[in-house]
């Protein structure tokens, strides 16, 4: 057992995490177009603030997948970066009164800034220890935010964050327009994640995930790569957290608590680790489910999400995307072998 712990985590990732098994470019382009259309059409069919939640949590899940699926690091403290950005964005927006994208940029930088020491310390431990160390640091930030109530508002949170968009003041009822104003930020985050994994840098990350000792032997500074991707991931989580707090108009301690870190990991695993696509899928399922449960007056959402977590981990470790991809793969190879049999 100790042998497993010395490495990065060995997770069952979906096909797309292995570049040689990617779908062909036409299918991928088609999927991308479909995804964009879905994202553009979403607030027409779903209550816009809920649609915004799906995108924010989806991007948050992408940031976790970047670490878990593509580098083999489970961060169980990503709420720190989401929450740090949520508070900083809110603080800048209320105190300075800049347009919200600028405030989110500030929040994102703050998240990346605290990710540097956290990452530096966390990468000294691997495997499950990495998860525990990141979790502990996120909790530390939670305590600090709770104490620094002059800035964070303590238990009450930071309220009344305005949605100022380059001279236009979007009020609460303009959530439909806010969705489209914030959409480019979400897409930017997703694009950064995609660029990261498809770059030579991303290939090194895969090498580290699959065999850290070999990556080291090939001359790569494994720790430095891990810290770099950790900071990138924190930045993406920061973009998502900033959008979330502006969308809701407040930032609260809920953003920093460890159940938030757990929730985003649930979304990632539910959607499919190592897919990038999976995160938003998992986020959509969880957000819609929670919305449904909350409106039906059911208190005890943890019972449902906890049960989903247990079932997913026990039975569908590749998540929705991974299970579907496997299924398609099996049909295709079934057809191929039957084709050979005929000939």
């Amino acid at each position: 057992m100790s042998a497993q712990l010395t490495d990065t985590v060995r997770v069952e990732t979906a096909a797309s995490a292995a570049p040689e098994r990617r779908l062909n470019p036409f299918v991928r382009a088609a999927l991308l177009v479909v995804a964009l259309l879905v994202v553009l059409a979403l607030p027409w069919y779903i209550y816009p603030p809920v649609a915004m939640d799906i995108l924010a949590w989806g991007l948050f899940a992408i940031s976790v997948d970047l670490l878990l699926g593509f580098t083999g690091l489970l961060s169980f403290g990503h709420a720190a970066f989401w929450g740090m950005s949520a508070y900083t964005t809110g603080y800048i927006a209320t105190q300075v009164g800049v347009p919200f994208p600028v405030a989110i940029l500030g929040g994102t930088l703050a998240a990346m800034l605290i990710a540097i020491p956290t990452g530096y310390l966390a990468v000294r431990r691997t495997g499950i220890y990495f998860a525990m160390v990141t979790l502990a640091f996120a909790q530390m930030l939670y305590f600090i935010a709770n104490q620094a109530s002059d800035i964070t508002g303590g238990e009450n949170g930071l309220q009344g964050i305005p949605k100022t968009f380059f001279g236009i003041e979007l009020v609460e009822t303009d959530s439909f327009y806010f969705y489209y104003a914030a959409l480019p930020i979400i897409l930017l985050g997703a694009f950064i994640a995609w660029r990261t994994v498809s770059s030579p840098f991303g290939r090194v990350l895969l090498a580290i995930r699959d065999n850290p000792a070999r990556a080291r032997a090939l001359g790569y500074d494994v720790e430095r790569y891990k810290i770099m991707v950790f900071v990138i991931s924190a930045g993406i989580a920061g973009l998502a957290g900033g959008v979330f707090s502006v969308s809701h108009g407040f930032a609260s301690l809920q953003e920093l608590v460890w159940t938030t870190s757990g929730k985003v990991v649930l979304m990632t695993v539910l959607g499919g680790i190592g897919t990038l696509w999976g995160g938003p899928l998992g986020a959509a399922v969880v957000v819609l489910l929670e919305d449904q449960l909350a409106s039906s007056g059911f208190n005890g959402i943890g019972i449902i999400t906890g049960a989903i977590f247990i079932i997913i981990v026990l039975l569908f470790r590749k998540g929705i995307w991974g299970t579907a991809a496997d299924f398609i793969e099996r049909i295709r190879s079934g057809m191929a072998s039957r084709g050979r049999g005929d000939a």
């Binding site: 100790s2 998860a131 979790l135 305590f143 159940t259 906890g306 977590f309």
Partner: protein, 289 residues
């Protein structure tokens, strides 16, 4: 100086719970390779069950001290047989996530059942009152709890070092693979060890019941501190868990005494320092990566 003594005793008292629960976490990790996220929830269940035994069956603190760990042992056995065992061969990450899901489930079930307000529990007869020498002032119960935790830790230590079962568990903790190669049936001990670890968490819960607020959320901060403790002590090390448990109790008490509200942050600063200077933990062995 008396201030210092006061905080030291308080710290040792608080450290007792941490040591007891962390010991359970360390034993489970050692033999099964599972980081049990639900340990905080089990601590909470221990306290809740004690309170419910009092409410419904009029069973007080002393019977609870025996009954609750037994109940929690069987709860642990059930969890291991139904859930944990299926993932033992995979990366430890999966059982970490599984027990995280179990935590969410357990906490919200208890919340739905018993609400968010705290259940009542009084200090057992004979242990009320304060213990005062000069300006040192502690509750008698706190002293009892600390002493009791130390006794249990010592008893577990004796079991581990002096009995055959203990030897097997230690061997499995050290190196499960090699123990198997030497003909020890490690698999046979997996379920009871898991139950035993959970029972220790439950016992810590019972001990905490008379002077902590008993509610569904009482384990949620506890588990994070436990994780910090095992990172400080070195996760594979049983001695490390106990020593770090008391250490963190002391740091928390000094922090509360001298710095007020920032005591919780100090624990994580200590953890950061350990990770920086000795990544494997105070008593952990260096990993070869």
């Amino acid at each position: 100086m008396t201030e210092f003594l006061q905080y030291t005793l308080q710290g040792l008292a608080a450290g007792g719970f941490y040591a007891l629960a962390a010991l359970g976490l360390a034993v489970i990790f050692g033999v099964l390779g599972v980081v049990n996220f639900s340990h905080g929830a089990c601590y909470m269940l221990g306290a809740m069950v004690a309170a419910l035994l009092l409410q419904h069956f009029d069973l007080g603190f002393w019977p609870a001290l025996v009954i609750v760990p037994v109940i929690m042992f069987f709860f642990g056995v059930l969890v291991e047989r139904l859930l944990v065992q299926w993932l033992l061969r995979l990366d430890p990450l999966y059982n970490f996530l599984l027990t995280f899901g179990l935590t969410l489930l357990t906490v919200d079930v208890m919340k739905r059942q018993f609400g968010v307000s705290s259940l009542k529990y009084q200090v057992p007869a004979g242990l009320e009152g304060r213990f005062t020498i000069g300006s040192v002032d502690l509750s008698v119960y706190q002293l009892f709890a600390a002493a009791f935790a130390v006794v249990i830790c010592l008893a577990v230590w004796m079991i581990l070092t002096k009995t055959r079962v203990g030897m097997i568990v230690r061997a499995a903790t050290e190196d499960a693979e090699r123990s198997r190669a030497l003909g020890i049936n490690v698999a046979r001990w997996v379920t009871p060890v898991f139950g035993f670890g959970i029972a220790l968490a439950g016992l810590a819960g019972v001990l905490a019941a008379p002077y902590r607020a008993i509610n569904a959320d009482m384990g949620s901060n506890f588990i994070i501190i436990l994780f910090a403790i095992v990172v400080i002590g070195g996760l594979g090390s049983i001695l490390g868990a106990v020593v770090a448990g008391f250490l963190v109790g002391l740091v928390e008490a000094y922090g509360q005494g001298y710095y007020g509200q920032l005591s919780q942050v100090l624990i994580f600063v200590l953890m950061a320092a350990v990770v920086l200077i000795r990544p494997a933990g105070l008593f952990g062995r260096e990993e070869v990566a």
